[in-house]
Symmetry: C2
Subunit: 400 residues, 2 copies
């Protein structure tokens, strides 16, 4: 067989990633995007000696001389400028989040005090310098690197952007993606198919898979007519960064996609991969435009999108991604053909270990079967017997 | 100590979930939502005996009589009505996705044929009935349950909706959530804080955490003034299903939230949980309104949102959720206080096992530390020594 291996195909795909440049977005819309700048501390954190318990601030010196009762001079509230303890034998009430009052260096929480007639009495034998005080700059110093370029932004990073006053974040621009279905047997979702027709579904499945990457893809259907395909795809190649096709890449009389792409000057980088499902995958480039032509079976399209498009996207936007996800096969499995097999599995996390149980599907046409599974387990092409307890790479598509 | 345990607190929170009813959304916008109807097969899948390889369709009988060369009668394309093989000694070219032509019951792929002058010759010793034919109804029968009510919708389900013609899906309505910060030390993200001020960040972190649940939360800041709090919160209780507060729930002079909520008729279900960080958490209800008042430290708010709000939401929308996620502690750890400790950890997946490495933080105020970690490991309150290799529940907050 003249097929490229899965590993080689993935290498070609990833090596043909593209940089789509950067853009600025409101920091609150940056979740799920890839950061394209370093974020530094704009000041020390905390930016002042910060009271971390509600109570009173005193001078340690007075306590160490044996004093236990302190006249309350005032209240240091959070959000107020720093007050000064005028008499170091007195105390100042001080609230969580407030600046530590000048001349004080210990905070005693209310739970360890009694307060009567403006006098706080401490029920303690000893205190420690700076207890209940979060000292200026102990978390981070001004200028410290807080978030590195090329980080996938999550809620934690959003909080840091807010803290340092980044109202806009520089992120990787998303590719403009068009997902095209072909196949004269396909009708729209709202239509009633004739006996020999089915509804379009792959393009919507892929829209949803790309939505997880925060890419808003568009969709289109083109009939299996070579002239129409030529003219439509010619204009798509101008207007989009990525074209994803579903169908018409195999050996059928109306599988025009490879020849149409060829005639339009798209360079084929490979066609047909040593895998099941998803074997007839065609991949090519025209200058900076990238074309993924997946076979039309629902499961083929699905697994190829996860296996090839996702890593291509991660590399394109600069995310340092390597799929380290592995799962433990929970029962023996047999698959004879000399192809990498993407086995549909249900995942179970048990005490920190991830187990994968095969879901018996009816082949690559069985979309409903995807609903019962959580992931694909990638079984290598050089063997037929896979044993319970062995660990294999996997492609999960659900969150938990 | 008079504190409620983490398990008991979670039980109270989850038992106070609320049903917000259902709504219909365009099927393509349903990803991440909870399905509120069963989805059945509207027809058999496949809906017809479907050709699954490009090639020729023949009658097995003719082949078994020794015939190997077949005159091509016509082409059965995908998307065309079923044709009939007029002479069972002939063949019909047939494409993937097409209906199997009448009077044929075997498909031979092009790879095993030679075609010359309109005659296809088969290079095979034997054939099997219905080979390369995906028979009607073998995946699913009309009326079969495809997706169960209360499923979290992912790309796989979107594909099924399309296939069965569900242009709109019935999903759980989302709660209307307002996230309120308090604290006079807080200024807006775009402002330059004075020495004793910091920028608001917790509310934005929580907006981002709720966005992962497909909830679009709103935010508001209210000053630490009891009268203002009373009047503002009174109207929030009318207009929102859920109020989440950050700050003003501890023992400070300006920690008005518990008394204000009490005066507005919100019933306290607990205040203070045996945990660190996040101990001063206050939880209450007023009729169908649910109030989460989290402490103001960034890490406290973050972990409480994951630990309490997430399961409350899942239960509210009917998702059968139990956090089974566990990780293996990768080094010894010591924590003395008799509190459940939410340890910040970095996760590493190695050969199907998930390891958690502690990230040494500077306490609950250290937001930047969340950036370096991936999850919280939940260490129980009844011990101080935690040993490398032990398995504990965890709350992850990144996708990989």
């Amino acid at each position: 067989m003249n097929l490229i291996t899965v590993n080689k195909a993935l290498e070609v795909v990833v090596n043909n990633s593209e940089n789509f440049g950067n853009e600025e977005v409101d920091f609150l819309n940056a979740s799920g995007r890839i950061l394209k700048e370093n974020i530094y501390a704009d000041r020390d954190f905390p930016p002042f000696d910060r009271v971390s318990m509600d109570g009173i601030a005193i001078a340690e010196e007075a306590f160490n001389k044996g004093q236990r009762s302190f006249k309350i001079e005032g209240i240091q509230a959070a959000g107020g400028p720093q007050l000064t303890l005028q008499n170091v034998s007195n105390c100042m009430e001080a609230m969580t989040g407030a600046v530590l009052p000048k001349n004080s260096n210990v905070v005693i929480q209310y739970e360890l005090l009694t307060i009567e007639n403006g006098i706080a009495t401490i029920n303690l034998e000893a205190v420690k310098s700076f207890q209940n005080i979060h000292l200026k700059g102990t978390d981070k110093k001004q200028g410290d690197l807080l978030v590195k370029e090329n980080t996938l932004i999550s809620a934690a990073e959003i909080g840091v952007f807010a803290t340092v006053g980044k109202t806009v974040a520089k992120v990787a621009k998303q590719p403009k993606v068009m997902i095209v279905s072909t196949g004269n047997e396909l009708v729209e979702v709202a239509e009633n198919p004739a006996d020999y027709q089915i509804r379009r579904s792959n393009v919507f499945t892929m829209v949803s898979l790309l939505e997880k990457l925060h890419i808003k893809a568009e969709t289109l259907h083109i009939l299996d007519d070579k002239e129409i395909l030529l003219s439509e795809i010619e204009s798509l190649l101008i207007n989009y960064d990525v074209l994803i096709f579903s169908g018409a890449v195999s050996k059928g009389k109306f599988d025009f996609i490879p020849e149409v792409l060829n005639e339009l000057g798209v360079k084929k980088l490979f066609h047909q991969v040593k895998q099941r499902p998803g074997k007839p995958f065609w991949f090519g480039k025209k200058n900076k435009k990238t074309i993924f032509a997946f076979p039309g079976n629902p499961v083929s399209t699905f697994v190829n999108c996860l296996k090839y498009f996702y890593p291509w996207y991660y590399k394109s936007v600069g995310l340092n991604f390597e799929n380290k996800q592995r799962a433990i096969l929970s029962e023996d499995f047999y698959f004879k053909p000399e192809l990498t097999y993407f086995l549909q599995v249900k995942l179970n996390q048990i005490e920190g270990e991830l187990f994968a149980t095969p879901i018996s599907g009816k082949g690559s046409g069985d979309l409903a079967n995807l609903v019962d599974a959580d992931a694909f387990l990638e079984l290598p092409d050089n063997r037929s017997n896979f044993t319970k307890g062995e660990v294999f790479p996997m492609l999960p598509y659900r969150n938990f």
